[in-house]
């Protein structure tokens, strides 16, 4: 079920809120929320409900075992087993065909016939997100930083909670546990107002900006990637740079808004990332819940930046390689991750040697361009496509051109307006939401404008991960 659909906005959400706030008692309400979230998930494909239930159960019971057991060897074995289980599921559904396909291709290249069968499995939506949610729970208990969930219902509600289930933000049980234990009996009006603002702004970012950017610029131009000239390739990339921001940050705002309406608080996931003055700052502002997850559960355990510059660069490359792979089972994502790893490593090295310029606008512009170049890898369907586009953009080769007319009539105003928003306007978390009647009417009109666009289904870009 998409957030930007009639069935979600006009049926599911009102009924879910009604049930949630009407039912008495925390356990009954958590049970209802879990059921509603499973329905929300099963609407997409009911066959993957048992998979999520299995993953949830394994983490819940492993968490309990880790908390009860004090023998280091057994605890370690349990953790390894659980990580293998979670990552195994992810591996089979997400990466099996990628690795076997790569091996088959490598074999063919070397003249050694390797013909491993491909599974062609459908990727369960949101699996990367809920797997990371669950893994952090188990690791935190193992590290002794978290007490296990009070009951299965609390944990199942945490994993399946529909606002974050499909595309984050990646929430941690440590953050949610006190909220799940003390569900407020009624929602404060201030929380309603904030939740509605976040929800509608997120919806507008997605359906009025991101989808329009895709329709007016990105889809028509990228479809002709082989014949784009330099200017067109830059326009397509700029369009995608803005589209992915409005799409994903729109989703995150909606998730935060929905959480508010249920009486929960989710963490911030975007903080005007295109204003970042360095690549390191960019990753502190973009998909923050993933960045911090990678920092806490991968980068720091690998040694972080504690053991010298070379080790820090290696660690950055490793975690960004894995981060790239997390996004998708394709070489384009792997190279994208490594590219960012290199940028982060170079930045760390420059900072260590005092070579980072302290002119913020210059740094922001440079970071923006470097991030844009990275999105070419992210959006392309093959390394060859990305390589061609990057060559055209940098003037190494020239494209045929003549595709400018494929863009929609509003392409340029849309680009300018979107750039204005990402660079100069306060983000959703910086806004002080107006509370006047006039603002309420304006927000209702904005909601209607979004609803009118629901007839054309448009999944969020991050659903594929």
């Amino acid at each position: 079920m998409l957030f930007n659909s009639y069935v979600f906005c006009l049926v599911f959400l009102p009924l879910a809120l009604l049930g949630w706030w009407w039912l008495p008692g925390t356990r009954l309400r958590l049970g209802f929320l879990t059921l509603a979230s499973y329905l929300f998930y099963g609407w997409w494909d009911w066959r993957f409900i048992p998979l999520m239930l299995l993953s949830t159960s394994a983490d819940y019971f492993a968490g309990g075992y880790l908390a009860r057991n004090e023998r280091a060897g057994r605890r370690r074995a349990c953790l390894i087993l659980l990580l293998a289980f979670n990552l195994g599921i992810l591996g089979i559904f997400k990466y099996f065909d990628f690795f076997t396909g790569t091996l088959n291709g490598l074999g063919a290249l070397l003249g050694v016939p390797v013909d491993l069968p491909l599974l062609h499995l459908v990727l369960p939506v949101g699996i990367s997100f809920y797997t990371f949610n669950s893994i952090s729970y188990t690791i935190d208990i193992y590290r002794g930083r978290l007490a296990p969930a009070r009951g299965f219902l609390e944990f199942a509600a945490f994993v399946s909670m529909f606002p974050h289930l499909i595309a984050g933000p990646i929430v941690r049980y440590a953050d949610m546990a006190p909220q799940l234990e003390r569900v407020p009996p009624r929602l404060e009006t201030a929380a309603w107002v904030t939740g509605i603002w976040f929800l509608v702004l997120g919806l507008a970012k997605k359906v009025l900006v991101a989808d329009a950017l895709a329709e007016q610029i990105v889809t028509p131009l990228w479809h002709q990637w082989a014949s784009l000239d330099s200017g067109e390739a830059w326009l397509a990339t700029l369009g995608y740079t803005l589209q992915i921001y409005f799409d994903f940050s729109g989703y995150s705002d909606m998730a935060v808004g929905l959480a508010f309406l249920l009486g929960f608080r989710f963490p911030q996931n975007f903080n005007s990332p295109y204003r970042a003055a360095s690549i390191a700052e960019f990753w502190r502002r973009w998909h923050m819940s993933l960045s911090y997850w990678i920092r806490d559960y991968l980068y720091v355990p690998l040694g972080g930046s504690e053991r010298g510059a070379a080790r820090a660069v290696r660690n950055l490359l490793v975690v960004m390689f894995l981060g790239g792979l997390w996004h998708g089972a394709a070489w384009t994502f792997v190279v994208w991750g490594l590219y960012h790893g290199l940028l982060l490593g170079a930045h760390a090295w420059c900072r260590r040697h005092g070579l980072v310029p302290h002119i913020a606008p210059l740094g922001a512009l440079l970071t923006f361009v470097l991030v844009m170049l990275g999105w070419v890898l992210f959006r392309s369907t093959s390394i060859a496509e990305a390589g061609h586009l990057l060559s055209v953009m940098t003037g190494v080769i020239s494209g045929a051109g003549g595709n400018g007319g494929l863009m929609g009539a509003f392409a340029y105003p849309l680009l300018l307006a979107s750039l204005g928003i990402v660079w100069f306007s306060p983000n959703s978390w910086e806004l002080r939401f107006p509370r006047s009647r006039f603002a309420a009417v304006g927000l209702a009109i904005l909601t209607l404008a979004c609803v009118l666009r629901f007839a054309t289904p448009s999944p969020f870009l991050y659903f594929q991960f």
Partner: protein
């Protein structure tokens, strides 16, 4: 956890804000849904407050086809440039009942979707012949089926995954932008021209008529020549970025013709004629190049024995008769009849016996 949470700072205005928001939203959603339901621009509810303007005609044509008796066995397909071809004329030429299923803004995906739709009807319809106007513009555009086709209740399901749950269907019917704008367009058209005839109407056999133009022609004040000249730059501009036939759409077109051929359907293909003034103005333009590429494509299918392609040279020239064109590329009944006669090599065959 180091990531911040948003505060929800209370304000004395919160209650009034929520009341105003929900009330306005309810009124807006309800009002919009009621408006679309009353106008019913696509004939989904049977209310039909005013005559709809034709903005999304795929479903209207599908409904007309289903209601047609005897069932048509000769179909005309194509874009808006084939919408004025007269099924009565085709019936006279073929001796079989005919129907015009040409749709506005068609792409090759439409042709394939229509073929699959005909097969999937409760009583499958396998026409004996298809007369297909292949407009080069059917072979361009953004990737994937175009929005008008995807949104079609009848044809959309044949383009890939399509919302099938009743809420999505009802939501799209009452609150979808396409329907709401079609309803507003219908009302505007009625208000702006309340004392005049509708600009276009669909006959039960799918043919498009233009009552306003017909009336102007009868009065003798139809300014066809001006319309033709005025439309040329805009049409040529549309082609400026049309650098090549889209390979995916070409594949779909080939698939359509081959599938229809395998089904035993006789296929006649042609490129709809344009006004001579446009032909002259479009020398050495992308329009000319794409048209020639389309000719090559259709000839290759002809050589395969999949279809019979009628060369452009064999189609009627219209001389200086600008009154037979609405604009540089859309012709009216006189050209349409002569075109069908040329396709069947039966001069005068459309005349009443």
């Amino acid at each position: 956890m180091t990531l911040p949470h948003a505060p929800a700072e209370p304000s004395p205005q919160d209650g009034a804000f929520l009341r105003s928001f929900f009330l306005t939203l309810l009124l807006l959603l309800g009002g919009t849904a009621l408006f679309t339901w009353l106008v019913d621009p696509l004939g989904r509810f049977g209310t039909g407050l005013v005559a709809p303007v034709i903005t999304a005609d795929r479903d209207q044509k599908a409904a007309l086809l289903r209601a047609r008796t005897p069932r048509p066995t000769q179909l005309i397909l194509g874009s808006s440039r084939a919408r004025t071809l007269d099924p009565r004329c085709l019936s006279r030429l073929s001796g079989e009942p005919a129907f015009n299923f040409a749709v506005n803004g068609a792409s090759s995906d439409d042709l394939l979707a229509i073929l699959h739709y005909l097969r999937a009807l409760p009583l499958p319809l396998l026409p004996h012949a298809l007369v297909v106007g292949v407009d080069p513009e059917m072979l361009q555009g953004p990737p994937g089926p175009l929005p008008g086709l995807v949104a079609s209740r009848a044809l959309g399901p044949f383009t890939g995954p399509h919302p099938s749950d009743p809420v999505a269907t009802l939501g799209a019917d009452l609150l979808g932008w396409q329907n709401v704008s079609a309803a507003a367009h219908s009302i505007w058209s009625r208000v702006a021209h309340f004392d005049s005839l509708p600009s276009t109407v669909l006959e039960p056999d799918g043919r498009q008529r233009s009552p306003r133009i017909e009336a102007a022609q009868q009065r003798g004040d139809f300014s066809g020549a001006e319309r033709v000249v005025a439309s040329i730059p805009g049409i040529l501009r549309r082609y400026e970025s049309f650098g090549q036939l889209d390979p995916d759409r070409v594949l779909v077109l080939r698939q359509f013709f081959r599938e229809a051929h395998r089904d035993g359907i006789r296929l006649v293909a042609f490129i709809p004629p344009v006004h001579p003034a446009f032909e002259r103005a479009a020398q050495a333009t992308a329009w000319r190049a794409r048209t020639e590429e389309t000719v090559v494509l259709l000839r290759s299918l002809d050589r395969e024995g999949v279809l019979r392609y009628v060369e452009r040279d064999a189609l009627p020239g219209i001389g200086a008769d600008s009154t037979a064109f609405v604009d540089a590329i859309h012709f009216l009944a006189p050209v349409a009849d002569r075109l069908l006669e040329s396709l069947f090599n039966r001069p005068g065959g459309c005349a009443l016996q």
